[in-house]
């Protein structure tokens, strides 16, 4: 654990002073005059990044539980498709998956009149449903593999005890198996969620305006290269730090 005292070593004080000087130099001599103009757009982009990350993480996790369960104890006709799904998702680049869904499905759907006439069509014409779908499937693929290990890792005696109490299978799963499996993989889940955050800028390539897309727009509008990118890196670092803190709190909350 990092304590306050460990920051007071001489070399760290010098490094922090240097760091402060660099920050000051950045603030004073780099160009930040574009900031007020693009701030509202940047906030909107930040909101898009965050909701895409949260929604796809939650949906992906919900999908990952059955995938992990199927691989851990399912019969072969469930375990095999689940394993193939995980292999395909983990074996191909996410960018390719996003483009496959967006351009592929996007060019396929308009050919069917009943899809064009349906209630969903106004949504299917936009980019974000494809982004959410691709990121959800990707998280489910990576997490399904993690959950497989988590489900097989729960001690047999716990499940046998539940069974001997006469618990029904679903109650047993809800009360004993799932909570223990999640507790065991909480640190991994935190890491995977940061990876998911780092995957969100890819949705900018299919015209979703997230914070990354805003920084690209600043770059192409004003020809300022480094400032938006540096700010973007800082924003992502702050979000990653917040995720780390949140998961640390979760980990302290669950009894060991």
């Amino acid at each position: 654990m990092i304590t306050f005292k460990s920051f007071l070593q001489p070399h760290r004080i010098v490094m922090m002073a240097l760091f402060g000087a660099v920050v000051l130099w950045c603030a004073l001599s780099l160009r930040w005059d574009w900031l007020p103009k693009y701030a509202p757009l940047a906030l909107e982009g930040l909101w898009t990044t965050i909701w895409i990350m949260v929604v796809t993480t939650v949906l992906g996790f919900v999908l990952a539980v059955p995938i992990g369960l199927a691989q851990a104890i399912g019969p072969w006709y469930l375990a095999m498709p689940a394993r193939v799904f995980c292999t395909i998702i983990r074996g191909t680049p996410l960018l390719l998956q996003i483009w496959l869904l967006y351009y592929g499905l996007g060019s396929l759907f308009p050919q069917f009149p009943w899809i064009r006439g349906s209630e969903l069509w106004p949504y299917l014409r936009q980019a974000w449903p494809y982004a959410v779908l691709a990121l959800t499937l990707s998280y489910a693929g990576y997490e399904g593999e993690v959950m497989r290990g988590a489900f097989s890792g729960v001690v047999k005696g716990q499940l046998e005890a539940a069974k001997s109490f006469g618990m029904r299978r679903f109650t047993m799963f809800r009360r004993i198996w799932l909570p223990q499996a999640i507790r065991n993989v909480l640190p991994t889940l935190g890491g995977e969620t940061i990876l998911q955050l780092k995957a969100t800028p890819l949705v900018a390539t299919i015209t979703v305006i997230d914070i990354y897309a805003v920084s690209s727009r600043v770059r192409s509008d004003t020809f300022i290269v480094y400032e938006p990118l540096l700010l973007l890196a800082v924003v992502y670092m702050v979000i990653a730090g917040l995720i780390t803190l949140a998961f640390r709190r979760f980990e302290n909350m669950v009894p060991r």
């Binding site: 070593q9 070399h11 760290r12 490094m15 292999t87 395909i88 983990r90 074996g91 191909t92 680049p93 996410l94 960018l95 390719l96 998956q97 483009w99 496959l100 351009y103 592929g104 060019s107 396929l108 940061i194 955050l197 780092k198 995957a199 969100t200 800028p201 890819l202 390539t205 990354y212 290269v225 480094y226 990118l229 540096l230 973007l232 890196a233 992502y236 670092m237 990653a240 730090g241």
Partner: protein
């Protein structure tokens, strides 16, 4: 062969993917070759950085250790896409400044070299952590014994530490290699013609999106599966002489 393709309704796809002129197969394979070149280079560069980084983190002074901690933390918290853009602009700027100072004109940097530089630095942060863990897992007695024999540090590293840590490092390095192959796809956004960009160009000029993206996915998957087999061999070789993890018979 043609008849089966005809009956399956895949004749058009086969034509699009053929290696000769009207088909785009050759383009995809060229893209795959570029991707693999970048992935190999970046992985090698990353392991080199990782080796120095791991030694610095384990045996370096307090300043080096803190700097390396900042390096690995920052790289692992910022999206690869953002890092690629930053490193790409910084790299081209620095080289052009250096070239200008030495009196040359603007230099065009080849996509492969820039890709290796950018992805290598990203990979370096991850392999620093992998190799640090692996070196720490080597029983200290082995390194002390080598020191007692009077071996110089480089020789200890070459003859004792690296061979002994290989078995611990291989699974992590295999993972990093897979990440490297998949991260090459991100270079499509900076405009390098690797597999994903070639695929997108082929797909958008023929409108056969599914055919090409699925074909590229198949190529990536083949690389992944083949690498899995190869790393299985490497791990077996690295673990030679050690008791097997499976079963009681070691």
């Amino acid at each position: 062969m043609e008849l089966t393709l005809e009956t399956l309704g895949l004749a058009e796809s086969a034509q699009l993917l053929s290696l000769s002129a009207p088909g785009w197969g050759a383009n995809l394979l060229r893209g795959l070759a570029n991707s693999l070149k970048i992935a190999f280079g970046a992985f090698g560069f990353g392991v080199l950085i990782g080796l120095f980084g791991a030694y610095g983190k384990l045996y370096g002074g307090p300043v080096i250790r803190d700097l390396l901690a900042i390096y690995t933390t920052v790289i692992r918290a910022v999206p690869e896409l953002v890092l690629i853009l930053i490193l790409y602009y910084v790299g081209t700027d620095l080289i052009n400044k250096a070239a200008g100072a030495m009196g040359y004109g603007r230099i065009e940097i080849s996509g492969v070299v820039a890709g290796i530089w950018v992805l290598g630095i990203v990979q370096g942060a991850y392999s620093t952590e992998v190799l640090r863990g692996a070196i720490k897992a080597v029983p200290p007695g082995q390194i002390e014994a080598a020191r007692a024999f009077g071996m110089p540090p480089i020789m200890i590293m070459w003859r004792v530490t690296i061979p002994a840590m290989m078995s611990f490092a291989t699974p992590g390095l295999a993972n990093l290699w897979l990440i490297a192959t998949k991260d090459t796809a991100l270079l499509a956004i900076v405009g390098f013609s690797e597999l994903t960009l070639e695929t997108r160009q082929a797909a958008s000029s023929t409108r056969a999106y599914f055919t090409f993206f699925l074909a590229a996915g198949g190529l990536y998957l083949m690389v992944t599966l083949c690498s899995g087999v190869v790393f299985g061999w490497i791990e077996k070789w690295a673990r030679r002489g050690q008791p097997s993890l499976r079963g009681g018979r070691g």
